[in-house]
Amino acid sequence: MIAVPESARELNVRIAGEAGQGVDTVGSLLVEAFAEMGLHVFATQSYMSRIRGGLNWFDIRIADRELFSGREKADLLVALTQEAVEALRTEVAGEGVILSDKEGQHGAIGLGFAGAAKAAGGSAVMANSVAAGAVFAVLGYDLKHLVSRLEKEFGRKGEDAVRQNVGCARKGAELAAARGASLQAPDPVRAPAHVYSGSEAVGLAAATSGVKLVSSYPMTPSTATFAFLAGVADRYGIVVEQAEDEIAAINMICGAVYAGVPAMTTTSGGGFALMVEGLSLAGMMELPVFIMLGQRPGPATGLPTRTAQQDLKFALSAGHGEFPRALFAPGSPQQAYALTRRALETAHKFQSPSILLLDQYLADLRKNIPELDETFRPIDRHVVENPSSDYVRYAPAPDGVSPRALPGSPAFVVCDSDEHTEDGHITEDLGVRVRLQDKRMAKEKGIVADALPPELYGADDAEHLLIAWGSTYGPCREAVDVLTERGVSAAMLHFSQVWPLDAEAVRSTLGSAGARRIASVEGNATGQFASVLRGAGILGDCELILRYDGLPFTGEEIAERAAS
């Protein structure tokens, strides 16, 4: 086992219990409180597909430096049920502390959360505040930071709610302090106070970019973005509609972008499968639709609440026929924000579909980062303002991008899912067919020219090169740090745009690839991105570091597997 770098101080706090017990409530409370204190926070969630019972946990990693990934072991386990103690005690670090409800074996300190809440003048549901108070005491942090958070959290529920919850937090702190449990915690360092999840970052970017219609069918792990957009719909002027199914969702946004507004849908693999005919329609009609695809393990329903990077090749080839598309895969909340806007811009610039590949890990992870811009800055829709009356929708263009007019203008905008002539009308003229297919495919050249280059982290002549795409950015980055600390020469090449690829540019970035060990790190069972790189003539055979049990990679794990 590789130890975490000693140079910086950090801790991993794990809150575990049944669904419906408030694991998320305590976790969110602590995340916000720690961020407000100026600690770097990185929170991840592991939950089961059920409303009540089971075993869920919420990890909050805190440090005096920026964090990019979660960690396997917890230093402090707060177990709201006895089952959580049994299941997770082996995942507690050697010097770690376990706080549990009942006094138990395995060194667990029983605090009787619900009983303590009642003793402090609160109700059983305030056990969450007792637990949060106990965490503060164990970490040796001033309780005033938690109190101020509780005031914000419960302020709108009235003074009594604030007073009771603060009382419960103090009781929890007292009880934990009386037992003498303590851990060396990192000192606050003025880290940014704004906490974002990947889901929120996508939603905020979409809203500020001018998305006006969101039509989706709820599906984990994409629903959080759908819900975020519903929450800001009045502020930004967005119609958010829950479609009857994913087929309706994609066809609604095809209609909406035809009529001129940026529109999007959020889904996961199974829902995306239902959308592929509509995706192909967008390819044929040259509609700038935007799809957020939150991946989870398949096939079929798979593991609904877990993470995976298994839909890359699916997204790449989804839809019958051939048409250009752009695929983006952010690796952090900041990238999720930037790339959502980029994906919408690319779709509109080239009148082609864009897909943003997220996954449960990135969708749910929370991290404090500099505040994201909330101002409304709609993207350029590349619309012809005053089209003439002899306008045709698919006029020949060397780059394949015909002037785009909207219905309601002086022009007639004619679009067909059948092969069509330049004026958009149905045709079976096979010469026209070839001409229009060539026109559509010509757009790919422009999309390639605009493609984002991969980002290199570490030395360009490193011995070990980790290839990452999408959400493995953070874990791979931490793996590079761990390896470097150990004196192993390592770097990461991260792709946030996974299609199309500028093969020549990537090849030159890879440089003397043959001289070192290259491993593709992916959350799937077959090494899909490595295969895409091979197909594009960018890379020959490489090592694969794969994980597909439904849980995310950690930096330590990748470092260990890469060096073995």
């Binding site: 119609v239 309706a248 066809n251 095809c254 009529a259 005919e277 009609m285 829709r381 045709t427």
Partner: protein, 271 residues
């Protein structure tokens, strides 16, 4: 290499009810005072779904069965547009059945003209969801065994704004019904058009319909839901045509607070 391909003349069989529907619709659009550049004709796939190509209008000829969600998206993006759907019974009542239910539930302000010929034409003669029991085809070799879908009763139960039926063999009546739908300003309008298919439906012919269709009497109160349902259930020896049902229920777009500021497409300017 073929030099000259056939152009955009209607791809329909001589005598097809679609010709009459095209003629009546083109006339009704003008009669309703609809600006052609403000009109979007939406369709799915099938012989009826080709109609938008022969009309001077904006056109969205989408996927089989998916005209309604596309039209819903268009209307939500710019509710000032006149959005009209022309498609067949296979497209609207079969492949797109779920969308029809939910478009009616939303009461989205689009006008839907269903060319209902009780048969699949483009795929050459299979049964449609509205084919009568006993209708024999190369697929339904022992005749259709399930009763036909009743789109009008469904629309009344869902409280659609306007529900009507007409007959492609009665140009005058069809024009009246189309005008009523096109000038109906708020909510979902469904006009089921009984349309003979001269190639594949030898059962429900012009003659067959002429002997059965009967104009609904002026005394019928279309706001009476019970009476409307009773009319919708009539099929066989007598088939009522006319405006069967009306409702005052507001459209989906009229209930969305975000649209009070104007069409979404006009909400993209900054400052």
């Amino acid at each position: 290499m073929i030099e000259k391909w056939p152009g955009s003349t209607p791809a329909w069989c001589p005598g097809c009810g679609d010709f009459a529907i095209l003629k009546a619709l083109d006339k009704a659009i003008d009669a309703a005072g609809i600006e052609r550049t403000n009109l979007v004709l939406v369709s799915g796939i099938g012989q009826a779904a080709k109609l938008p190509h022969y009309v001077k209008a904006n056109v969205f000829n989408g996927l089989h069965g998916r005209a309604l969600p596309a039209a819903t998206g268009i209307k939500l993006a710019n509710h000032k547009l006149d959005v009209v759907i022309t498609s067949g019974d296979g497209d609207m009542y079969g492949e797109g059945g779920n969308h029809l239910l939910h478009a009616m539930r939303r009461n989205i302000g689009v006008k839907v003209f269903v060319h209902n010929n009780q048969v699949y034409g483009l795929t050459k003669g299979q049964a449609s969801p509205t084919s009568d029991i006993g209708f024999v085809t190369k697929i339904q070799t022992h005749g259709v065994v399930n009763p036909p879908l009743n789109p009008l009763a469904m629309a009344i139960v869902q409280d659609c704004s306007l529900v009507a039926r007409t007959f492609a063999g009665d140009l005058e009546h069809m024009g009246e019904m189309m005008l009523a739908a096109l000038t109906h300003r708020d909510g979902f309008a469904l006009v089921d058009i009984l349309q003979p298919c001269v190639s594949f439906n030898k059962r429900n012919t012009y003659q067959w319909y002429r002997e059965r269709v009967k104009r609904i009497e002026d005394s019928h109160d279309p706001f009476d839901r019970g009476k409307a349902l009773e009319l919708a259930f009539r099929w066989g020896d007598e088939i009522p045509i006319g405006i069967i049902y009306r409702s005052d229920r507001g459209s989906f777009e009229s209930k969305l607070p975000v649209l009070k500021a104007g069409p979404l497409v006009e909400q993209l300017r900054t400052g």
